[in-house]
Symmetry: C2
Subunit: 429 residues, 2 copies
């Protein structure tokens, strides 16, 4: 937020050499938080990604190299750290930045301490970073809402009348949010086939991904204590990539009138590293112009969009490489995260530390920039090419990989990847 | 479940005399669990309602009069007890029943131990009994779905085509579930007035209650481990009354296409005492006939409805008594709790200990049996009489009180009450 923040200086370098590569997602300007186990039988703890390594904050806290108001990092989630508040977030970020800076000798020149504090990412297990009390998913891409409206409802009135007034959102299923790498079982469910009078119970035939980002509430609000659009960003701890897996055929049959349920509740995948709002500050940009001007509680001055490049790729079973199928940018989103949180709380709803809010599918203006197969293939009619094969929807064994980063001058503030492989549906009657 | 269960014998009496009154909600056959503080500065603990008293289970556990695998009751929620599993639920119920039975001398004849173990309900503070990781609300009354469909959509096709196939449900907002007695602030929000082109930001003008019950998941299921309709009830710990406060005008404008959000997220009130499935077993009855016969995963043999009489009353500010406005019965519900849980998990969704599942508004076949003012007043057109005044919707200062009980032979297994008073909306721009 503060342009003078020394932790985001473009020229900053780390003594962890892999962090200085121009295409590393985890340079010293990033410092995202995650939860990991260094080995299979080790206790979970909080770490920071730096290059191809993880800095073990529990270890630094224990040895006194990191000072916090109370122990926060020998924990299975970021929640205690998030609950400690913004001053602690900034203090820890500052200390970690200093410890990792090229000109700080403390760890750099102490081989034993360094060996204890750094864990190669390749050998570590990354866990769900946050205990998530509530998961809300928004629907804030105008292009996505228009595309879906045209496919599911009426092409002539694709955008519903409330869409330009409300950052539409709904409550998702928090229990089934999983971390990148967790296999996802194809859901069974009720499907209404066009040529049959009654629904059938079947494995989903139109399994899809949704390219999203999500943010975590770090500073909660109480009941009947709404958060204004202007102050909303100060409640946000950081962002992740999010794949809102969607069973399109189950969704089409179930969603009227109370919204998607089983079509979304089987799994939602997030990336393991939470990129903080401080790390994202240099990549602020102006949100799209909103016409009509929103109601007063949704107005905010300044730049509230973020320039985050996003890619989706798909790797069929047995292949060693993934094929890109979509590219877009988070900055296209019509409603900002600040507006989403302000709307969520304006009627009195309270939030809790660790609440996850999904952006909604991020689709850009061009055909190759759509954030779901539903849109990319026009509901399966025009399968996408993945080099020697095509996909109308996701097949068993396919791995879907989201990635994203902010492009700085010679460095990237990245999110790593958010991936999941589809397992065959359970046998059913 | 077991008809030979001695804890539900109709002739059973307690040495707590108030429990033997024919209209007590808390006879020895009930033994519902709650969380309470005996005094303002005491620690929360688990108790059982008996007559007008509370049996302090933490105290009994401490003094060795109650045996459990590990300490479960010196806790701010029932979650640890629920997580201990059905064998422990039954063991504790059996022990408590024995301790409170008229012919058991242990506490009856020990004035000092009795004084420590019993707390008058009148002086205690009842807290939210469960830490609720997820809240799902169903929509399982055919009469309610028909009435709402006629008002919000098309009277000629009031029941949507999926309704007879799917126990329709959606994810609610778990963070704003509060215990009976918590004041509820009238929400502000976007309202679309018929004579205006754009929505206005306003206090809700059509504030409503919804008469529901809810059940708590005690035995969770994992991802991709669906629960069958036949085994679903064994996952349920118990039931409460539930008021799903609803801002009808906010709802009408926001709910297409992803369902209700701010119209419901400001508060949901539940009763403090969780009535167990064992206590409800004698009141099983046959559910309504389902036509068409549901898909295989929704079928179950036997009786899965429960005969629970329900009443709603309203007390305007300053009055000393409430006026009844609706009477109905839980047994009218088309979809059973077992079918709700089976449907919720059939696509792979996992549940957690303490998940709350609302029944949906419980409306019966007659005009006086509707579970919301929306239905009772035909969207405000025909206000209900409350003796010297009328109500189209809820006004500031009104207290809405739900109550419910199962009528046994000379005793009632009751839920107590689920009440909330409406505070004026926050001032807004």
């Amino acid at each position: 937020m503060n342009p003078a923040d020394p932790t985001i200086a473009p020229g900053l370098r780390s003594w962890v050499e892999s962090a200085n590569a121009a295409d590393s997602h985890f340079p010293i300007q990033n410092l995202p938080y995650g939860v990991f186990k260094p080995s299979a039988d080790a206790a979970p703890r909080v770490g920071v990604a730096i290059g191809d390594q993880i800095l073990d904050l529990a270890r630094l806290e224990q040895t006194g190299l990191l000072r916090t108001p109370r122990p926060l990092f020998a924990a299975a989630s970021l929640n205690a750290f998030m609950a400690a508040g913004r001053d602690t977030w900034r203090s820890v970020r500052g200390q970690v930045s200093t410890l990792l800076a090229a000109d700080t000798a403390t760890l750099r020149d102490d081989a034993a301490a360094r060996a204890q504090a750094l864990v190669p990412q390749a050998g570590a297990t990354l866990l769900l970073p946050v205990e998530i009390p509530g998961y809300t998913d928004f629907y804030s891409s105008k292009e996505h809402a228009t595309n879906v409206g045209a496919l599911f409802r009426d092409p002539k009135n694709a955008l519903l009348p409330n869409w330009l007034e409300i950052p539409i959102g709904y409550n998702g299923r928090a229990s089934s949010v999983v971390v990148s790498g967790t296999p996802v079982r194809r859901p069974n469910g009720q499907i209404k086939l066009p040529n049959q009078e009654r629904p059938v119970f079947s494995p989903c035939l139109k399994l899809d991904f949704e390219l999203e980002t999500g943010f975590f509430v770090g500073v909660p609000n109480g009941m009947a204590e709404p958060v204004s659009s202007d102050e909303a960003e100060s409640h946000i701890f950081g962002m992740v990539l999010l794949n809102d897996w969607s069973a399109r055929d189950i969704q089409a049959w179930e969603y009227v009138p109370l919204g998607p349920f089983n079509a979304k509740g089987f799994a939602t995948t997030i990336s393991p590293w939470v990129v903080t709002m401080d790390a994202l500050a240099p990549f602020r940009t102006l949100q799209p112009r909103q016409e009509p001007e929103p109601l007063a509680y949704l107005r905010h001055d300044g730049q509230h969009a973020f320039d985050i490049q996003l890619e989706v790729s798909l790797r069929p079973q047995g292949r060693d490489h993934a094929s890109p199928i979509a590219r877009t940018n988070f900055k296209h989103m019509y409603w900002t995260m600040a507006q989403q949180l302000a709307h969520h709380t304006v009627s009195g709803c309270n939030t809790r530390v660790g609440d996850l809010m999904g952006s909604g599918t991020i689709s850009g203006p061009d055909a190759g920039s759509y954030g779901s197969l539903l849109e990319l293939t026009v509901n399966g009619k025009n399968p996408v090419d993945i080099g020697g094969a095509t996909r109308a929807f996701i097949e068993d064994g396919d791995e879907v990989i989201l990635t994203g980063w902010c492009q700085g001058d010679g460095y990237r503030v990245g999110f790593g990847s958010c991936a999941g492989t589809i397992l065959p549906a359970l046998p059913h009657q």
